[in-house]
């Protein structure tokens, strides 16, 4: 028998966890300690390869890990204790699942012999998180731990990325077993995401594209998830074909906002030209997007005359909401490469001049128009000023959820992928501030700004303390309209202007609050002071709460009213009371 005490792969479960993190190239994790993870914290204490960022609430750890992941393309890692630590992770896990963000969460669990006994801080973590993870594991034997951890990283980052959770009982953390570095056999044989697209389908797609008269490319977050190569190929495809391109909220930055073929974002608060192009096109190429209900509007009137090509790595995204003509399952980058190759070899640039003329007419409607004022800051103007002030800088933007989020998407131009972090699928208020913490950890010298709302920002405000502790100079740019603006907008449009509980009563003094945390507070009321204040914010190398007082009753347009199609958008100049009432006419059932 060999002497196991000298085998470097013999170690405790807790040591294996840290070792696996190192083996997967993890340099930063976000977490919060508690009884069921103390052995892991003890290991963290005794090493320096993995930096642990102590958050103030586990939800903050999850969103910070998401921000870290989205801004780097690497998996984000969170570490939480059992019971309440794990339940506090449910929101970020769900958020990451909806937006396909690779996240690895390690949770502590009560010792195996106590599982099922309602022990102190016990909860059925794998049961609770089963529907909000791509996969999860409860590890009952320390000798399974290495395999599970390696598989967890693989599952999170391969195929359609997503969150995974590994639940590790405390006795397994203490127990000694054998570790092994990552290897192929760690992964379920049943899990084999498809990468390469079917060649026949690719030829069909190229034939459609080559003969299109009124084409559009509609790209989504999948292109960004696929990696830099996919972004490069998407841009090349636009160049080679001359086609117009729009994108979902999640896909912003894959094609540059300054690019000449850019139509702006599509969907509920997308531009008129993007939505009309979608509606009237004859060939639609959907790359890495999923025909979400914020995108399609009324399903039976969605782009009625077009042939639709859909590239997605997840077969369950195909034909879920919209029937498509040419589905291609696989990795966006891989398939875009194949399409380009076939297109360049066999097709010539289609003539889409007439189509662009039509698009120019739609564009001339200027659907993002808003009325500026000298007395009060319009939120759209504030975003534009912020955008101008950060042009050419190494900037990352996160957001909360609400009107400010839509205005940020409409008015902030993204030139590169991974620069825009927003909660799209779940729409999680409180995402942006901790996400900014995560982004700043990954990019210590960059300018990281959370475009926030006065209500959302209070949901995870405590992470200001994290930012101060780790000297993360995040900028929280609050469009303070003193309302849950988006809720109020819907109440105005759909509920007879009865503003039930959407007023931000008893707002804190954000300047004092920033100071109380040890950060910097800036407040601005007047349009004339805005640019100077933004410059001050950017130059301060500390966390800033920027209280930007904006026009309280401004609403977000253009907009596709519920039950309407892309060609029935409500434009800002039409959004008077009467037109709005008509556009939203209908029953009053609540669904």
């Amino acid at each position: 028998m060999s002497d196991k005490s000298h085998d470097p792969n013999q170690m405790t479960g807790a040591a294996m966890i840290v070792r696996a993190l190192i083996d997967h190239g993890v340099t930063d994790i976000f977490g919060y300690p508690g009884g069921a993870v103390l052995p892991i914290y003890d290991e963290i204490f005794q090493q320096s390869e993995v930096q642990h960022i102590l958050v103030r609430h586990e939800q903050g750890a999850g969103h910070a890990a998401e921000g870290y992941a989205r801004s780097t393309g690497k998996p984000g890692v969170a570490l939480v204790t059992s019971g309440p630590g794990a339940t506090n992770m449910v929101t970020p896990l769900t958020d990451a699942l909806m937006d396909s963000i690779p996240l690895v969460c390690i949770s502590g669990q009560v010792p195996t012999h106590l599982i099922g006994n309602d022990a102190f801080q016990e909860c059925d973590t794998v049961g609770i998180t089963r529907p909000c993870t791509k996969h999860n594991w409860l590890v009952r034997d320390v000798n399974d731990l290495a395999k599970v951890l390696h598989e967890a990283f693989y599952v999170a980052t391969s195929g359609r990325p997503g969150p995974v959770l590994v639940d590790v009982p405390k006795d397994v953390q203490f127990a000694t077993g054998t570790y092994h570095p990552p290897r192929k056999s760690d992964v379920h044989r049943s899990y084999a995401p498809r990468v390469k697209g079917d060649a026949t389908q690719i030829r069909k797609a190229v034939a459609l594209l080559a003969n299109a008269k009124r084409p559009v490319i509609y790209s989504g977050g999948g292109v960004i998830n696929s990696g830099p190569e996919a972004t490069k190929l998407l841009r090349e495809l636009v160049e080679v074909t001359g086609f117009p391109i729009t994108s979902t909220l999640m896909g912003l930055g894959a094609y540059p906002a300054s690019g000449k073929n850019w139509l702006g974002m599509l969907g509920m608060h997308g531009t008129y030209e993007a939505n009309m192009t979608m509606h009237d096109c004859d060939v639609m190429l959907c790359v890495g997007a999923r025909f979400d209900d914020r995108i399609t509007g009324r399903v039976d009137a969605f782009s009625p005359g077009s042939k639709k090509i859909h590239i997605d790595i997840d077969p369950s995204s195909i034909n879920k909401n919209i029937r498509v003509d040419v589905p291609i399952i696989g990795d966006c980058g891989n398939i875009l490469g194949d399409i380009l190759q076939v297109f360049k070899a066999e097709a010539k640039k289609p003539d889409v001049k007439a189509w662009w003329q039509q698009i120019a007419q739609w564009r001339a409607r200027n659907s993002l128009y808003y009325r500026k004022s000298n007395d009060v800051i319009l939120p759209q103007h504030a975003i534009q000023s912020l955008f101008e002030a950060t042009r050419g800088k190494d900037t990352y933007i996160t957001t909360e959820v609400g009107q400010h989020q839509m205005w940020a998407a409409q008015f902030f131009g993204f030139e590169e992928p991974h620069r825009w972090m927003t909660s799209g699928g779940l729409g999680t208020m409180g995402y942006g501030l901790p996400a900014a913490v995560g982004v700043q950890v990954a990019h210590p010298d960059s300018l990281v700004i959370d475009i926030a709302g006065d209500a959302s920002v209070q949901m995870t405000m405590q992470e200001m303390s994290t930012a101060v502790q780790y000297e993360l100079p995040i900028k929280i740019f609050i469009l303070n309209n003193q309302y849950m603006g988006m809720v109020r907008q819907w109440q105005q449009l759909l509920h007879g202007n009865r503003l039930s509980h959407s007023y931000s009563e008893a707002l804190p003094d954000f300047v004092k609050l920033a100071e109380a945390y040890g950060g910097v507070g800036i407040q601005v009321h007047k349009p004339a002071d805005l640019d100077g204040a933004i410059q001050e914010m950017i130059s301060v190398k500390r966390p800033v709460l920027f209280d930007c007082r904006v026009a309280a009753l401004e609403n977000c347009f253009p907009m596709i009213p519920s039950g309407k199609a892309h060609n029935e958008m409500l434009l800002p100049e039409q959004a008077n009371d009467e037109a709005t009432a008509k556009a939203f006419a209908g029953g009053k059932a609540l669904v």
């Binding site: 089963r130 996969h135 379920h188 049943s190 369950s316 509920h495 209908g586 029953g587 059932a589």
Partner: protein, 180 residues
């Protein structure tokens, strides 16, 4: 359709429902069945029948047979959603293959005397049901067949003193030499 005041688009689709039998080969590991069932409840799919058992113990493989109903688009979704689960090896739509055999086993308890008893036995014989328990006032029949046959048998037993039924749910397998 008049759309109610809502942040969601309400769809007014009336595709007819179809019934499909799906065979799902999964890694037999803790939580695998919970994942499958959770998928159905979480996404609002129907389960008409569900049977599970380990079928290859060396490889730790279980076979789940699910009978479900939905529009063609929903059925397609269900298959894709099952297929993308990490421990799922294969999903086969037995209904689409049109070459599958489906069987269910039921145990049917009937209580009665005199003519009813005689009639019950006669019908059981016609349906090839076996008597697996008998008292002076009751029988338990064991019957195998497809779901329709079993439903029919149970309906016939009702007026003859049906007490209770225990059914296994549907198991399915393809005809011919090939495996799934």
């Amino acid at each position: 359709m008049n759309q109610p005041a809502s942040a969601y688009f309400i769809e007014d689709r009336h595709d007819p429902n179809e019934t499909h039998t799906l065979s799902v080969l999964v890694q037999n590991e803790p939580g695998a069945l919970a994942r499958v069932i959770g998928l159905f409840s979480g996404r609002g799919y129907n389960i008409e029948s569900l049977t599970v058992s380990e079928t290859e113990s060396q490889k730790h493989l279980s076979r789940i047979t699910i009978v479900t109903t939905g529009t063609p688009m929903v059925i397609e979704q269900i298959k894709h959603q099952l297929d993308r689960m990490i421990p799922v090896y294969r999903v086969v739509d037995m209904t689409l293959t049109k070459r599958s055999i489906e069987r269910e086993l039921a145990m049917v308890k009937v209580r009665g005397e005199g003519e009813h008893r005689v009639e019950a036995l006669r019908l059981a014989d016609a349906f090839r049901a076996r008597v697996i328990d008998a008292t002076t006032e009751s029988f338990v029949f064991e019957i195998t067949g497809n779901t329709d046959k079993i439903n029919q048998f149970i309906d016939l037993m009702r007026p003859l003193g049906l007490v209770e039924v225990s059914r296994t749910g549907v198991a399915a397998i393809g005809r011919g030499p090939e495996g799934m």
